[in-house]
């Protein structure tokens, strides 16, 4: 398949880097920056709600960057992919979570999945800026 068949929209490579940065910082902001308003708002609403619900369910948001526990490292990286909301929640004092809470594990799942979905959204913003997606 030739490249012309793959391209779906107007390419704007100069905006790819800022779009990815905005998309990481705030879910959906990269698409809003690229003029994809409806997609950006859906991502902002859905991923933002996932993260906020996770924090409300007493998720742990502690930063872990060691290699002694690889799963904890991956978990922390997944949560950090949420960008500003993750660091804002930590700054507001929600980093410890509450391990005795009934919803603690659900909260961890919500916040980690929100970050992982945001990675897909960043990649989608990159493809959109490169003209590979609409």
């Amino acid at each position: 398949m030739s490249d012309s068949h793959v391209r779906a929209g107007a390419a704007d490579p100069a905006r790819a880097l800022p779009a990815c940065l905005f998309a990481w910082l705030v879910p959906g902001a990269g698409h809003l920056y690229l003029g994809r308003r409806s997609k950006g708002l859906v991502f902002l609403g859905a991923i933002g709600a996932l993260f906020l619900l996770g924090v409300a369910m007493d998720s742990r948001l502690q930063l872990y960057l060691g290699f002694e526990d690889p799963l904890a490292l991956l978990f922390s990286l997944a949560q950090m992919a949420m960008g500003l909301p993750y660091f804002a929640a930590r700054a507001l004092g929600y980093e410890a979570g509450q391990v005795t809470s009934v919803t603690y594990e659900y909260g961890n799942t919500f916040t980690a999945v929100a970050g992982l979905l945001n990675i897909l959204v960043v990649l989608d913003a990159l493809d959109t800026a490169r003209g590979l997606k609409r």
Partner: protein, 57 residues
């Protein structure tokens, strides 16, 4: 949100919405894919839960 089922439904709905928006371009196909993904999430969780029922921790 201490109900397992409510948590499952909310999680499935939000994740399905993101997947449908990422993977489909037209509104109609987005809605269809989102509903299909939502059904798969909920159904597979119920089936797995039912299969695990004879094996309590």
């Amino acid at each position: 949100m201490s109900s397992h089922v409510v948590t499952l439904v909310v999680f499935s709905a939000l994740v399905s919405t993101v997947f449908a928006t990422l993977l489909r371009d037209e509104l109609r196909s987005r809605v269809r894919f989102g509903l299909w993904a939502f059904g798969c999430f909920v159904l597979s969780t119920l089936v797995l839960g039912w299969l695990m029922n004879p094996f309590p921790s």
